[in-house]
Amino acid sequence: MARVWQLLLFVLIMAVLIGLPPLLGAGLQNAMTNMLIAALFAMAFNLLMGQGGMLSFGHAAFYGVGAFAVMHLMTAIDRGGLSFPTPLLPLAGAAAGLLVGLVTGWFATLRSGVYFALVTLALAEMLHSLAPHWEGLFGGEAGISSMRMPWGGFIFGQVIEIYYLTLIWVTLSIGLLYAYTRTPFGRLTLALRDNEERVRFMGYDAHATKMIVFAVSATFAGIAGGLLAVSNEQANYELFGTHVSAQVVLHTFVGGSTVFFGPAIGAAIFTLFAYLVSDVSRSWLLYQGVIFVLVMLYAPLGIGGVVMLHLRHWASIPWQRMVGPYAGATAATLLMAIGTVMVVEFLEALFSPHYVAQRRQAETSWPAFERFGASWEPFGILTWGPPLLLLIVGLLILLRLRHRIVALWDEVQETAETAARSGA
């Protein structure tokens, strides 16, 4: 039964991913391309983090290396009549990711825990600080740009063509990553995360194993970077930046690192939202940070983890009693979200250079400002009252409902435990 549902969900998602983009504008098509790339990057990262138990703070290194490799290949094709099928360009990213991943992985996996994270951080920062000065390899500060060549009847001039090319690559890559979990080595990767010492005492070379996990992860990160290069037709040193490494961490943990598709969910949500709200708000990154910290505090397993928890206990959840509190909590969260957004946007408006200039010109010292298509008084009760009220009411509801939900879940856990004890 579960398999049928999974298949259905898969078909549905693929149908949307295939059928929807032609109906959208180029902007959204491009956003969806970026979404797919971010999803693959997060999945590659999570092979290392979620399955191998190694937290990397420098995955931008492999993403960037993949992108630059593709740019060099693209340039060679463009300039020198090298004939290479354009759709296979990301292979250069994979090869570069694998190569650099093997070498750096050998070093990085000598260490574990915080020290591993610091090694990866140092690697990426080295590239980030070196690239702008290395004209030949990274094109200096400006980076490298080139052109995609037509191939096999495709021009690759339109966004939609690139979207479908990306879709094929991402689907294939995620399929391979899924297959990986079903191999003996995939199982060994999980064991490594749980207990590296025991792995060694079972006859496995833990260091070599970790190095290969690292290299596979870097390979797929390289493909993701390569796809970005194919899409943008350029790459520069900022691909190695701390922000790139940070984004993939955020995506993965919000989506849920313990669930296979979790990182893809996180990446999809964040990149799509970023595109959708970027015109409306400048504070998207702030919201993203807040969401991440809230997830870390209250749902450490991420969105995917929460979903899995519900699926696992589906039968024993007292839904009739649960629906009420859940609906209430959702509504309260929404109230608080609206309140927060209003406060942040008002502050943003008040502290913007635009408003400061307005203040200088206006006769009254604090002129009204524009937000959400309306005009607001900087010190008006109608400005600050509603969002504060929303925040307080939402918080009170959440605090009340929290105990009810926790109590109900305790019941669920108890049923699960008794079921386990009786050997079911």
């Binding site: 079903r182 003996p184 999980l190 005492f201 079972m202 496995y204």
Partner: protein, 251 residues
């Protein structure tokens, strides 16, 4: 006579900094025997196990497994040469299923160490062997539970199963009954007796009843030195042992 010696420790010494843990340990384990190492806390028993299994290298001395030097080799190589150990503090894969915990060992023995292009579900021999092992440690009805969810004595049984999974010739068990009730101890000892048939067993154990009923020979380690080795009767009768160690408990 040579073939009789599976494990041979010669002049083993180990120091951490200025602290000497082991000094001049000479020990021979014969093929097929069940050999116990006893001694008071801090005598160096666990260190000895760590040296044999490759966790640390000895400061001096040599360890021969079937005549081949293993001192200083990494644990995974020693394991592949046919020596497998269990841990005093349960050392399992908590989030993986009981079956998976065992299968990982079986996979290693089949040389599937870097197998990226085969489906694990299609490995018939590996899966059958793992199922059989699961039955031998009597955890069939826990097959798909995460190992972390098992009771303590079930985890101890799994620990032994994982040690056996690589089909070792020599088995090192580090306090297999630590922290168990009498009933559980009895159960685990029967299990050990059964699953180590035909293998060589070296065990560290505190429970003297267990030691004397289970083992063919006993070595006594006191303050990092080997005091005596012999059959249970010989050890019981040994005056030095009685004075140094057994006196308080057996007399």
């Amino acid at each position: 006579m040579r073939e009789d010696r599976v494990l041979d420790l010669r002049g083993i010494a180990k120091s951490f900094g200025s602290a000497r843990i082991l000094e001049g340990v000479e020990l021979t384990v014969r093929r097929g025997e069940r050999h116990a190492i006893i001694g008071p806390n801090g005598a160096g028993k666990s260190t000895l196990f760590n040296l044999i299994s490759g966790q640390f290298s000895p400061t001096s001395g040599s360890i021969l497994l079937n005549g081949r030097e293993i001192a200083g080799r990494p644990p995974h190589q020693i394991n592949r040469m046919g020596l497998s150990r269990s841990f005093q503090i349960t050392n399992i894969y908590h989030r993986l299923s009981v079956f998976e915990n065992l299968r990982l060992g079986v996979m290693a023995r089949h040389g599937l160490r870097f197998s990226l292009f085969r489906r694990v579900a299609a490995l018939r021999a590996v899966n059958e062997e793992s199922e059989a092992l699961l039955q031998r440690i009597r955890l069939e009805d826990r097959r798909d539970r995460p190992a972390g969810d098992l009771t303590y004595s079930e985890q101890r049984a799994l620990e032994i199963g994982m040690t056996l999974a690589t089909a070792p010739e020599v088995i090192l068990l580090d306090e297999p009954t630590a922290g168990m009730s009498q009933e559980e101890t009895h159960y685990v000892i029967e299990l050990i007796r059964e699953v180590t048939k035909g293998k060589t067993l070296l065990v560290v154990e505190h429970d003297m009843n267990v030691v004397f009923s289970l083992c063919d020979r006993i070595s006594v380690l006191v303050y990092g030195e080997l005091l005596a080795t012999g059959t249970p009767e010989e050890i019981r009768a040994n005056r030095a042992v009685q004075e140094a160690y057994l006196g308080e408990e057996v007399a």
